[in-house]
């Protein structure tokens, strides 16, 4: 068993900021992360390889800190008792002991079902970006990027840089909502610079506002998508090899819930020190509500300093956190999902991809529990992480409890 003063779960911006802040005062810190390399999603492929100077600086400091240990390709299974975590790597398992825990498990994409969404070639938006950063072959491929949020533009730019031909970026938000969001960017000049740079990179790529993917077509794999364009009667068909479609982000709450942390409106509840409802457990980044990299860095720093007992220094980041929280609120308002998105699935459209449970079997249920017991919805290996975000929008119910272990585990990891 390994002992640490502070364990940080997740090596994205929040986790790295938390680890650096805690370690700078000498705490013995472990960073547990399920990917082969640190960086999380936005700094995927390693913080040292990012253009963002904050990533490089955090990485430089963390790499030279003898009191920081990175445990990559390591997943938390559950807490056998307070202060301990059972973790699993591809080949082994271990128990880690902590004094304080900082949960920085980030977010996943909200993926919504529509006819054809299970075809090979249909991915999440951030999903295809992540795959592309891992070397997924996109040279010369025709890609439609769709869904909602500023992430779509970043995704399109990444994919284009990897050689993909972007047919269109399809944004469900309406033109007035987008206009209000753009106006609100005046409060965050760094985001304007980012938006302008993306616009330059994506010059010539159609940006379809108030539009959404209605269905995907193909026999064994994706061949085309049908798009409902804002204000148009007829659906428009676009040929493509990939559809990268994601409807915003959802916090990964499973670990916090498994440890008993209170959540509200799909986010972990924390106080001003990023402390959760459970003594000694903090949460930072998207887990407390989706807000992007700047908010994650501020929250991570506050959590790391507070957890290591440096509350006065933590207060220095309060202003920054408040500013980016406002940005997060504008983001949520600007890209609120339109009701039509809940009407796309047909009775034979699969909603739970792990167990192949269709919309027709689910739409009459009034709770997650009833659907689960009678259809197996959410009982497969993703444990409701994908379908739960969809049932919330389609039927108004979502997973009511977290399952242990929180990740698929080998029997030997648990009974050894």
């Amino acid at each position: 068993m390994k002992r640490y003063d502070i364990i940080v779960i997740g090596a994205g911006p929040a986790g790295l900021a938390a680890a650096q802040a805690a370690a700078s005062h000498g705490a013995r810190v472990a960073v547990v992360d399920d990917n082969p390399l640190a960086g999380g999603q936005i700094w995927r492929g390693g913080p040292d390889r990012q253009a963002d100077p904050r990533a490089q600086q955090l990485w430089r400091e963390l790499r030279t800190s003898a009191n920081v240990h990175f445990l990559q390709q390591t997943r938390v299974l559950y807490a056998p008792e307070p202060g301990r975590l059972l973790v699993q790597t591809p080949a082994a398992s271990d128990t880690l002991h902590y004094g304080q825990l900082i949960i920085a498990t980030g977010a996943r994409e909200r993926l919504l079902p529509f006819p054809g969404w299970t075809l090979p070639g249909v991915t999440g938006a951030g999903g295809l970006q992540a795959l592309a950063k891992g070397g997924y072959p996109l040279q010369g491929k025709r890609v439609v990027v769709a869904g909602s949020g500023p992430l779509l533009l970043a995704v399109a730019a990444t994919l284009q840089a990897k050689g993909a031909r972007i047919g269109a970026v399809v944004e469900q938000a309406s033109t007035p909502a987008l206009a209000r969001f753009v106006l609100g960017l005046l409060a965050t000049p760094s985001k304007i610079a980012q938006a302008l740079q993306l616009a330059r990179q994506l010059k010539g790529v159609p940006y379809l506002r108030g539009s959404y993917v209605h269905s995907a077509q193909g026999d064994d794999a994706l061949q085309s998508v049908r798009i409902q364009r804002g204000g148009k009667r007829e659906l428009e068909s676009l040929k493509c090899d990939y559809l990268a479609c994601g409807y915003g982000l959802l916090p990964n709450l499973e670990l916090a819930q498994a440890l008993g942390c209170a959540t509200k409106d799909g986010a972990v509840e924390v106080d001003e020190w990023q402390h959760s409802s459970v003594p000694g457990i903090y949460c930072a980044g998207e887990g407390t509500g989706v807000g992007g990299v700047d908010l994650a860095l501020a929250e991570g720093r506050i959590a790391g300093l507070a957890a290591s007992g440096h509350v006065e220094q933590a207060q220095e980041a309060f202003g920054r956190r408040a500013r980016w929280k406002k940005f997060a609120a504008r983001l949520a308002r600007g890209f609120a999902l339109r009701p039509e998105l809940a009407t796309l699935a047909g009775d034979d459209t699969i909603v739970c991809r792990c167990e192949d449970v269709c919309h027709g079997e689910l739409r009459t249920h009034t709770s997650w529990r009833s659907a689960k017991l009678q259809t197996r919805c959410g009982m497969g290996p993703c444990q409701g992480r994908i379908c739960g975000g969809a049932t919330d929008i389609l039927y108004g119910w979502r997973p009511d409890a977290v399952r242990l272990p929180i990740s698929p585990a080998r029997v030997s990891s648990i009974i050894d």
Binding site: L111, P120, G127, L131, D220
Partner: protein, 82 residues
């Protein structure tokens, strides 16, 4: 000089790829990108790209249910899709 490619075996076929790429990417380079069959028998390929959806799971070096999107290719690795 350190080699910049690794050779792995995907469904009994050798493929050489650059170091640092994921098994999911190598599977797409080697063919259709299909990683598994669903409960109903349909072909599935990676969806979330970040270790959540489990669609990309394959057998790697005899260990079942490994997530190909979160595994980097290594020399001599044996990958079986289903």
């Amino acid at each position: 000089m350190r080699s910049t490619t690794v050779t792995l075996n995907i469904d009994a076929r050798e493929i050489s790829v650059e170091t640092g790429i994921t098994v999911a990417a190598a599977i797409a380079m080697a063919g259709s990108g299909v990683t598994r069959r669903s409960v109903g028998g349909a072909a599935r390929a990676p969806l979330c790209g970040m270790g959540v959806c489990q669609e990309c799971r394959v057998t790697i070096d005899g260990r079942m249910h490994q997530l190909s999107c979160q595994t980097l290719c290594a020399e001599g690795m044996r990958v079986v899709t289903s």
